[in-house]
Amino acid sequence: MDSEPGDRRVSAGGTATREARDLLPLKILIAGGFGVGKTTLVAALSEVPPLSTEQQMTSLSDGVDDTSIVPEKTTTTVAMDFGRVTVDDSLVLYLFGTPGQSRFWFMWDELARGAVGAVVLVDLRRIDDSFAAIDYFENRGLPFVVALNSFPGTDGVDVDVVRDALAVPARCPIRYVDARDDASCTDVLITLVEHSLTRSA
């Protein structure tokens, strides 16, 4: 099969695909604490109802069983909701809602690899729940934006106060979002991609 430089299509045989331009997937991670609205945001943007998939992750157990000095492997099944946005005739964007528990973040390297970036959703009534995600993306150098989901009683909170409280770097955008509203969520994605472009070589 003729292959242009950079063409990473894999086909063992040689059957040409019919697309005028080759299909290319992209992904954005939607992170944040439990119940912050990740699935709501995915549903607002996705052209299909959000689907759920499971990933089995193997980790060393954390010493609960201290009768043994041999580390024991445990397998955890983590469920992710995801959605799909067709961008143009060849680009398909996937949105993955990622579990927010801090003890899982070290397992997310595979998911983060190659991502456009991440949206960290914050519930202003429970901002501590978002620390782990912000810390993770900052450490991995993955572009991210912080989106403050509008809940009753959280209007008028100053963005600078949130930035200080969550130790969000100055270069990282913070926006209000209504996770139920397609246009509002699209604005957040646009902000993320613009931010990602400023950090792209």
Binding site: E19, P25, S52, T53, M80, V87
Partner: protein, 126 residues
């Protein structure tokens, strides 16, 4: 999002056939080790011609892939973990029943700039 210990499967009545039966006990694919969760697959002409004779789960993958499907969507379709979907898709790709479309990333491991610009144009046009 919570850790789901397959409660949903139990609610549906549960899976009867264990996942390892789909993959003949393999948990790793030979060719698909770097196939990410967003990788897209499309059915080839060969795959569509051979589909009626394939095992049910492979046939379901090929027939669903007349429209591009991601590895994540294949996993959801069959209600199996991503790792199982990856093994099945890798085998079908090796037999030229599926074409796999991987993300295009630059040397820094991030999406190419031109793709980000196209994504931005697409989002602004929504």
């Amino acid at each position: 999002m919570t850790v789901d210990r397959r409660q949903r499967a139990h609610a549906d009545g549960g899976r009867v056939v264990p996942n390892y039966a789909f993959t003949a006990g393999r948990t790793r694919s030979t060719a698909g080790t770097d196939m990410p969760i967003e990788a897209l697959v499309t059915a080839t002409d060969t795959g569509l011609a051979k589909a009626p004779g394939l095992p049910p789960e492979s046939r379901a993958i090929v027939e669903a892939s007349t429209v591009p499907q991601s590895l994540a969507e294949i996993g959801a379709l069959l209600d199996v973990p991503i790792g199982v979907a990856r093994v099945l898709v890798s085998d079908l790709a090796a037999e030229d029943h599926l074409a796999v479309h991987l993300p295009l990333v630059g040397p820094d491991g991030r999406p190419r700039r031109e793709l980000l610009e196209r994504l931005l144009d697409g989002l602004r046009a929504r």
